[in-house]
Symmetry: C2
Subunit: 316 residues, 2 copies
Amino acid sequence: MAIKKAVIAFGGNAILQEGDRGTVREQLRHCSETCEALLDIIGKGYELVIIHGNGPQVGNMLLRVEGARGRAPELPLDVCVAATQGTMGFMLEIEMRNRLKARGLVKDVTTLMTQVVVDPDRERFEHPTKPVGPFYDKERAEELRQEKSWDIVEDSHRGFRRVVPSPRPIEILGVETVRSLINQGHIVIAAGGGGVPVLRRNGEHLTGAEAVIDKDYTAALMAREVGAELFIILTRVESVAVGFGTAQEKPLRRITAAEARDYLAQGEFPPGSMAPKISAALEFVEATGHEVLITAAETLRPAMDGLTGTRIVKGD
Amino acid sequence: MAIKKAVIAFGGNAILQEGDRGTVREQLRHCSETCEALLDIIGKGYELVIIHGNGPQVGNMLLRVEGARGRAPELPLDVCVAATQGTMGFMLEIEMRNRLKARGLVKDVTTLMTQVVVDPDRERFEHPTKPVGPFYDKERAEELRQEKSWDIVEDSHRGFRRVVPSPRPIEILGVETVRSLINQGHIVIAAGGGGVPVLRRNGEHLTGAEAVIDKDYTAALMAREVGAELFIILTRVESVAVGFGTAQEKPLRRITAAEARDYLAQGEFPPGSMAPKISAALEFVEATGHEVLITAAETLRPAMDGLTGTRIVKGD
């Protein structure tokens, strides 16, 4: 029997949720709930690659680095992303092992540290837009601009915040290993936080980049590279909708790539949240002809059965 | 041709050295130097598993957690160890990739997040002995004892310090994956910091343990489990010596396991440094009949050629 493969992406906010204190105990509970939901994908016969985001977690890591400034060496953003691959990979892996055991399933779980080579696109590096880390007051923001050459922008009402580039992923280092492991039946956790961003200098030498990669784009690339039949994006909503937040709001159950591209062009999807997910989904659908499923963790099971969620398909 | 396998262990202080400021730039330089030395093992035809320690790095992570107390959630020690698997794994992997490329060698490099199940040995958990993290004054030490139920001991002249258990590793989760990857020719970085310590509650459920595992024992277990022909321990000295620090100091070039055990019983090796390395080495030699090489990173090449270093062998 041919192996069916799925790649799933979810945000760091699935593990450290709004309103949480963010303790490790809470995060472990959310890891357990998330892994329980993911087992429904395996129940449908798919081998699985898991790509988690790390927004709140890398924010906390930056706070810790700042809190120990002068007492412990500072860590650049790429190394902070690597730290969250460690912490979140650990929490997800033990909870996945525990959920498998509880269901009587025997599967290996492997967590890979993953570097992702990014597009050195000058525009994105020279005009960073992605806010990370704590808010500062005006004076401190000015100091940090001077001291560290950070780009810092004013965030409406909340203060000043560092912005970093969010370049596109172009190559996942070790992707053949991911492919080989899922072909052997492992559940693979990889490219956490979208992967640690690295640049290839002179086409050769690798160096870390102070940037963050949108995990949905990395996941779309992963899904293509491992030959996934299904790419799943978990988000806060059960389905993608048009007319979102209006009286005409209408959930989309099944749309073609062409329809999704039209809605995207019409500005139906908010730029900071659903739009990049749709763009990442389209990259996968258009390159492979396979489907993307977008839904919430809570509705993953009925969505896998086609009862809810949004499927983006190549054609009719 | 049968594959020859080697497991190598070195301390976190090979990467963040005494007298360093400990910046990421410095650590990357030491990663590069260390990886360059390790390529000599590969040059001798061995497939390689790398296990790094994390002493100074996890100490810095604890300082960061403490520095952000009240602003970012605290991380227990197991999660801090996981963070260093991320940060150090990333730095070692990119520098290994860069060194390989510079030498024109084509090999995959894979870094695995690794949990290690520890012996729940009551004595070690009830009477922790391994100091970790920052020094405190008496007042703060008392607060932390109350607040967190930490075990804190007075360290001569330097203040008060938390002590944690250092249990023995009994099972490396995912060791079959390490075995399979090195058989495919990957350089594998695994079980960083000795592995994230986990306990199996009721023989089943995995939970993190606030402990640290001696990386030499984890490496000895790894070397047995992957069927290594050679187990290498890098340390600060070129060779193991008897009469260390005396006028009668004599380097040992090649000793049998029985001789090593005698020297150990006679107290020839300092308890906090060389003694556990010799114990870990003996576990491997006695279980497998294969050799252990102990030397410094700087002398690894001549030691591989038998010109220096200490070899511990099964018999004459």
